[in-house]
Symmetry: C2
Subunit: 565 residues, 2 copies
């Protein structure tokens, strides 16, 4: 591409309402233009990047055996009523009426439509397994669209849906998609983690999120420094610490703590470390209150707590009146030693191996020190109750946990029979018996990837694209071309040579001054810049700069050839 | 592609509501599935064809220097209010409200959005000319969606918009697009005509429609048998016949025609040909009634009549009361001889060179014969008033006109300054003066092309795709593969060889019986079918059938190689 025949329109002003780097840089580079809240036009430059992502996704999905189709954006209410999601999906569902007053929505996702397609198209087990995907525009009516295409209302998504006769086949395709997603993000040059995720509202069984690592990410991830293990921080298991509980060394001693209620206050007052304290909270159980105990330096993980059999599927703190009624004590002084026998005491693994610890005294204005499990305090059950922290051992036994932030760009789910059951999607098996289909679904936020890549790869000067996503891999920048025929000719020769070799190259023939030209190429993030100048020609070299490096190098023609081998 | 890993689902039943061949065949081939009225899912097979069209359009647009971008489907009301089209566009505009009750439409076209983009992005004449295009999903809320994707509500369109400093630049790009469209439809293997068209509601100056020729087409086209000339039948010029008007040979004679009013009745009664009669109709003019005269075998063209200076921009027949009042005669007996002097007589070129003709007698129950212009009847003005008919001389002087039916698949317009003016899209010229942009717009119905190609290319057995649009160019059909390892191996070898050579080939490895396999390949329209069988292997040949031919041929391996050179 010759830039003189392209529409490149970078801007100097940083737009006031762009809160994150990717949004600012996409606007400055002229990749996007806002049409309405959360609705953007992709300029020619932006679209080049979007299409590269789209094509990488398509090629890897095809390679994985998935089959592309194209479903409509406008979907009839009747179908969404069948799954109950016309109401349940909530305000993100953009509803509309046509001229005959029939109701539709602009599809935010396609489980209904693809399952309807499947119930009509799939008749026999011989047609299974099959994985249908599309790369298509979706709309979610976000309350607060922001961050440009990171959280837009109209966006481009790859959504795939697989259909199976049995769970084993679903499991196999899930693994296939998991590996395919890894190939896609690796090929795009992104640092990412596949993260065990809660399935949330979509429902189903296994689920992984693919997160692009970036400090600005909305999601916290626990990952192993020694393996591939990664999980949403809410789901990461906190292992039992090594070693066993020491024998008690001190007697139980009650101390007055008239105004000290928080762990920090108690520790400062008693001169002990938080890791030597046990923190107790009372929550509403299935049958009365339940005590949850974690170490003073740890936090209760509410997702884990909610899964305890003693709790009703959610973790709700008891209020002061409930606590007073059950224990006779005000919150802040509750501890496991001497709690009424009707209250189960569930103790986190790390708290359970403490000896001679500090805890609430179960009397207003009083704590214990020298407390010990069994001798002084009941343990109903030991469980994983806490949030993991940096430095915890990795649950897979390899390395320690680190905590990182990520941007969700992909999600794979085992949906099971949820949609197929309610929509009546069945096939005949090899015995002629009707069987409800098993389903998986696999999404990639194609347009969001563009923003996520920038969050991960930028600096003061602009975007620093991974090679696979750059609008062009190489920019040729001639200096003084309007005066020097030799420069013009050599720039043209090099441009033709690289293009001929199948390298995605742009020739900046706009006739700008070097400073403006270099600033543009850095802002739009071209990975390789080759300068053609009279001085270089005299020396038989080009001035070359890799976008990720801060120094120029002088390269010969042969060096350039080797760069892209 | 191996068919065993694809999702092919042909059906036997012809759907009852499919009225035209393309709709029936797309459903039978399993290319489409209806989700709601005018809203379809493109199956994997359908999408393969759609993508081939899309890619051909994209490559030719790029080659022509147009630059691809991607605009949103959802567009804010405010922008459409600026051009007045929020109301004027009519019921086809699908309007909707988001959760904040802001109003939007699902874009049926993008003049507003692209002009808004241009007024923000284009500042200087140096950025001109530029032609932006997109290939994007549109929605038009048709009152009566039908014919499958021929007249769907949600459809895929290529829309391009060019911007210019002056009309000469617009004119040049218009010609560039006109030629590009020709290349696109030629490359797709379609028989088509570029037709002069009325600009209709979009407004502007020059305009051509690109029509795929097919008997089922909704539009009638007049085309030259000796040149590229073609026009919408309403716009085709009817030339003056060769020669001059003969001198009168007969005297004017009144004849009683008490019950004969129509041309056919008069001709039968008087024993003359319709071409020797003059038919007169009275229409409402700017200032009283106007008489329009055409030959008895010709029809008034209302589009041409409406453009006469004497008419108020439309052609409305006078009613009986008006005619009686102005002439004292009932309709059916009006003629140019002896009409009141207040009524202008506008005569079609073909009628104007008649001599000794038959016409109405301007008295109830009476006609003239032997009538002659000038001597007996006034001519206020000679004009082109009639519809062209088959056999008329072509207006460009080359060959005769034929009449064909067509399906509109492309349209190019010179919009002029209409949108740029009202939206304030200006640039600075080389004098630093603000200038309103000139615009062209250029549409292609990408999804409609698929249906139009089928209307033009099908037979009893199914679709007969042009090579460039076929889902696959070649099908390899092994017979008895489950029994014969030699057949399996040779089919695989040939499949690998053709795929290696870059030929889009499908291997039908589903294990069907030959009849079912051949019927499928004919229905889905694969241009080349190669059968691998034990019998053929013994003879060193393949049984080959071209979709467009009715006989098999025995080809050797070398013959096959040459087929796709």
């Amino acid at each position: 591409m010759r830039l003189s025949r392209f529409h490149l329109a970078t801007v100097k002003e940083v737009p006031a309402d762009a809160e994150i780097a990717s949004h600012r840089l996409m606007l400055r580079a002229g990749m996007l233009r806002k049409l309405a809240a959360g609705i953007y036009t992709w300029s020619p430059l932006g679209l080049r990047v979007l299409r590269k992502v789209e094509q990488a996704v398509r090629e890897e999905m095809n390679r994985a055996g998935a089959i592309e189709l194209l479903m409509p954006s406008i979907q009839p209410r009747e179908l969404w009523e069948e799954t109950g999601r016309w109401e349940k999906f909530g305000g993100q569902l953009l509803k509309l009426r046509d001229r005959k007053d029939a109701e539709y929505c602009y599809g935010p996702t396609h489980e209904e439509v693809v399952t309807d397609f499947a119930r009509n198209e799939l008749r026999s087990y011989k047609q299974l397994p099959v994985n249908f995907y599309q790369i298509q525009t979706k709309f979610r009516d976000e309350i607060r669209p922001r961050f440009g295409v990171m959280r837009a209302r109209e966006f481009l998504m790859k959504d795939a849906y697989s259909f199976h006769l049995d769970p084993a086949s679903l499991e196999a395709e899930y693994r296939n998609m998991y590996e395919t997603y890894g190939r896609i993000f690796t090929r795009l040059g992104l640092r990412f983690r596949a993260v065990q995720a809660d399935t949330g509202a979509i429902g189903g069984n296994a689920s992984h999120e693919f997160q692009v690592l970036a400090d600005s990410g909305e999601d916290a991830i626990a990952f192993s420094t020694g393996s591939d293990y990664a999980a949403n921080i809410e789901l990461a298991e906190a292992l039992a610490p090594a070693g066993t509980r020491p024998a008690p060394a001190h007697a139980l001693e009650r101390v007055d703590t008239p105004t000290q209620k928080t762990i920090d206050e108690i520790c400062a007052f008693l001169g002990v470390a938080p890791a030597q304290c046990v923190k107790t909270i009372l929550v509403r159980g299935v049958d009365g209150l339940v005590a949850l105990c974690v170490r003073g330096d740890h936090e209760i993980n509410e997702v884990k707590a909610a899964k305890l059999a003693e709790l009703p599927g959610e973790s709700v703190l008891a209020d002061e009146a409930e606590i007073l009624k059950a224990t006779g004590v005000r919150p802040g002084f509750i501890g496991p030693a001497g709690l009424p026998a009707s209250i189960p005491v569930i103790v986190d693994r790390s708290a359970a191996i403490l000896a001679d610890f500090v805890c609430g005294g179960n009397a207003d204005g009083s704590h214990y020190r020298g407390a010990n499990w069994e001798r002084d305090a009941r343990i109903t059950r030991i469980a994983d109750l806490r949030k993991v922290v940096e430095g915890d051992p990795s649950p897979d036994g390899q390395g320690e946990l680190g905590i990182a932030r990520g941007i969700e760009v992909g999600h794979v789910f085992q949906l099971g029979q949820k949609y197929a059951e309610v929509l009546g999607a069945t096939v005949l098996d090899d015995q002629g018996k009707s069987r409800v289909l098993w389903m998986g679904c696999y999404g990639i936020g194609v347009s969001r990837i563009v923003a996520a890549a920038i969050e991960q790869n930028h600096d003061e000067a602009g975007i620093a694209w991974p090679e696979a996503m750059a609008p062009w891999r190489v920019a040729i920048c001639p200096i003084g071309a309007h005066q020097s025929e030799a420069v013009r000719e050599e720039a043209e020769r090099l441009y033709a040579e690289l293009a001929q070799a199948g390298i995605d190259v742009v020739l900046d023939d706009r006739g700008l001054r070097p400073g403006a030209m270099f600033a543009d190429m850095e802002l739009i993030g071209i990975p390789h810049r080759i300068v053609v100048s009279d001085r270089g020609l005299a020396a038989g070299t080009y001035e070359y700069r890799r976008r990720s490096e801060s120094e120029n190098r002088s390269l010969t023609r042969e060096d350039i050839g080797r760069l892209f081998d």
